[in-house]
């Protein structure tokens, strides 16, 4: 006699699957990076409780299918070191590591590999993913966040409710510039054409600059070097049946403090405006209902945009409807 509270089961990061009585566990891998040792835990769960298979999710987690629902407590106990290492030790507040995940609505914060490996990266994406997770998890609101090291956006931050893109302010020393033109040519070819040669030296149009840092990478003399670290926040991108669309820029050239605060404030906005008659309402659809000004007013509370920071007043989201 199987009597299951499906709401609780789902909150615990398990799924209702097509096979009656059989569930699947979704393991969060914060920022997509983990010590290889945790793979032993994933393997043990899959082999002892699941059907021996593991599915790698688009959010950089593991989904372990084929688990009989009555085995959940055993699975959760086995999972404890993963929750301890990948959540609690990152500062995420989880009281009982033996009870499995305390919430599943706010999804795993995914991240590209960032500056631990990638030459294009402008910062450590995993670290920021950790700070965001600490701020927003556990939480039941359905929110997807991703962090990407540069405007190449390998993590597809443009498909998230919140996409954080790392920028760098290029700093130019005209005395070190030999006028080779490499930065100008490259910016035009792979970025935004923000650079031009004037009197054999380079001029940067900040309004067109993406902050990708390609000019710094290309300069043979280090005339361009890395200045301060900034972020661009793209919001309300989504896939799904109702009006899929790419996220658009909401904030640009803001610092980490502003990024974290906007994300934190967004949960207050959801709390206030969510349609509770629905089982779950994604934040993007709430913004569709309230309009951007209401969203902006809520999330920009207490935000310091700084001297370079800018916030979008209007966003033509677009996308398409069926």
């Amino acid at each position: 006699m199987l009597d299951i509270n499906t709401k609780k089961l789902m909150k615990n990061a398990y799924r209702i699957t097509k096979h009656r009585g059989i569930t699947a566990l979704r393991v969060r891998v914060l920022g997509g990076g983990l010590d290889a040792g945790y793979l032993d835990v994933i393997k043990a769960i899959a082999e002892r409780f699941g059907n021996g298979k593991v599915h790698i999710t688009t959010r950089q987690g593991f989904e372990i299918p084929g688990i009989p629902m009555e085995k959940i407590p055993g699975v959760n106990r086995l999972l404890a070191p993963v929750i301890q290492g990948l959540e609690v030790e990152m500062g995420v507040g989880i009281a009982d590591v033996n009870g499995g995940y305390p919430a599943a609505g706010t999804r795993n914060v995914s991240a590209c590999i960032g500056n631990s490996v990638c030459p294009f990266a402008n910062f450590n994406t995993t670290e920021l993913a950790g700070k965001i997770e600490k701020l927003i998890y556990p939480n039941d609101f359905h929110v997807k966040i991703a962090v990407t090291g540069c405007p190449n956006d390998c993590i597809k931050a443009h498909m998230q409710d919140i996409g954080v893109i790392g920028l760098v302010l290029p700093v130019y020393d005209p005395g070190r510039c030999m006028g080779c033109g490499a930065c100008v040519k490259n910016c035009r070819k792979v970025a935004s054409g923000a650079l031009e040669m004037v009197n054999y030296k380079v001029r940067r149009d900040h309004r067109r600059c993406l902050g990708c840092g390609e000019c710094v990478l290309k300069c043979p003399t280090s005339a361009w070097t890395r200045g301060d670290q900034y972020y661009r926040l793209v919001i309300m991108g989504r896939t799904g049946k109702k009006n899929p669309r790419l996220a658009r820029t909401f904030l640009e050239w803001v610092n980490e403090g502003a990024v974290l605060k906007v994300i934190g404030n967004m949960y207050g906005y959801i709390e206030k405006y969510i349609d509770r008659s629905l089982p779950k309402e994604h934040v993007g659809y709430i913004v569709d209902r309230t309009g951007l000004p209401v969203f902006s007013q809520e999330v920009l509370q207490g935000i310091e945009l700084g001297s370079l920071g800018r916030a979008a007043g209007f966003i033509p989201f677009g996308g398409y409807t069926y």
Binding site: N115, P119, A121, N122, F123, N124, G149, V168, P174, G175, R176, C177, M178, G179, C180, G181, A182, V198, N199, Y200, G213, V216, L217, K218, C219, P220, T221, S222, A223, T225, R226, Q229
Partner: protein, 337 residues
């Protein structure tokens, strides 16, 4: 004479010297490397010995101190022109033995080439005194021993960072100053006597290697970025630029700016022609200059084996290996005669 100085006494010396000198040294600049989270070691003006990077090799060489990347040669109006001064102060350069030897090569080019003296170079160069930093260990890419540039002469001070202080061999008039701040010590100079990287320089390189496939290989690998030449302590090419000020085009300045045989435009001529477009040909030209052509004129090789070109090449092209490949080709050619 040798002296031992702790950090404070060395800084005392620097402070006194700074009254009449600008002091340059390799400095590690946190976060200034091209990749995020990396540092840049390059030459900057310093005021304290703690700012000096003693462990890592500098990415750029000290040549930019006397041969600046951008140097204004004269300012002009419609009627007249003026040559900028270089100030009254002397210049102190902290550098490694290979770099001192590199200055000797620059001197040939700027002071003794074709019977002309480059007055701009001379003016700065005459101010320079070298404080040589002893190489405790060779870096992986160095091949100074092969190039005979592992020993340095013509310095004022030779420094060994040891035991939280500095052991200094001092020559000439600076001894008085060192005597004031430091205690007498014994010091025997040490130079690197073996590198991991070794090159064998061909006695002569002739045109028989010009058609070889290795240049086609380099053509496909080299992206002509110029990093190798820009970091090289002996590359001395420059171009001229006349600037007309944007808000008053009747005035302006003439500048000399570094140029590189590896970078597009070096051989550009009126009409848009260039006679060394192929990147493999550029590599060959550079190599010939460094290990053969310069020697034909001055009697020794231009390259000092600092290995910076190998350190900075984004395409992992090793200049040292290129030299060895050319040497092997020449030996083969001799055997086949």
């Amino acid at each position: 004479m040798a002296y031992w100085l702790d950090m404070d006494s060395f800084n005392g010396i620097l402070k006194e010297l700074s009254a009449d000198n600008v002091v340059y040294a390799p400095v590690k600049m946190t976060g200034k490397g091209a990749f995020s989270g990396t540092d840049l070691v390059a030459y900057r003006e310093i005021s304290g010995v703690e700012q000096i990077e003693f462990k890592e090799k500098s990415r750029f060489s000290p040549k930019e101190i006397v041969f600046p990347i951008t140097q204004t040669l004269l300012y002009f109006t419609e009627e007249e022109y003026a040559v900028p001064g270089t100030g009254e102060k002397g210049i102190i350069v902290f550098c490694r033995p290979c770099d001192v030897n590199a200055f000797k090569r620059l001197d040939e080019i700027f002071l003794r080439n074709g019977g002309r003296v480059d007055s701009y170079y001379r003016e700065l160069r005459e101010k320079v005194r070298f404080f040589v930093i002893e190489c405790a260990e060779s870096f992986d890419s160095c091949f100074c021993v092969s190039m005979g540039t592992n020993r340095a002469d013509g310095y004022d001070v030779f420094i060994r960072a040891a035991g939280g202080g500095f052991l200094c061999d001092v020559r000439g008039d600076l001894a008085t100053l060192f005597e004031k701040f430091g205690g007498p010590a014994e010091m025997s100079l040490r130079f690197i006597e073996e590198n991991k990287t070794k090159v064998s320089i061909p006695e002569s390189v002739d045109q028989s290697v010009f058609g070889h496939g290795i240049w086609r290989e380099y053509a496909s690998r080299c992206i002509a970025c110029g990093r190798c030449t820009v970091s090289c302590p002996t590359c001395s090419c420059f171009t001229m630029q006349d600037i007309f000020y944007e808000d008053n085009p009747n005035r302006g300045e003439r500048r000399r700016v570094w140029a590189s045989c590896m970078i597009d435009g070096f051989t550009a001529m009126a009409g848009g022609h260039g006679f060394r477009e192929d990147h493999g040909d550029r590599m060959r030209f550079k190599l010939m200059h460094k290990i053969s052509d310069f020697r034909k004129r001055f009697g020794y090789n231009m390259c000092v084996g600092c290995g910076r070109c190998d350190d900075v090449c984004p395409e992992y092209i090793s200049f040292a290996r290129a030299i060895n490949r050319v040497d092997a080709l020449m030996k083969e050619a001799v055997e086949n005669v």
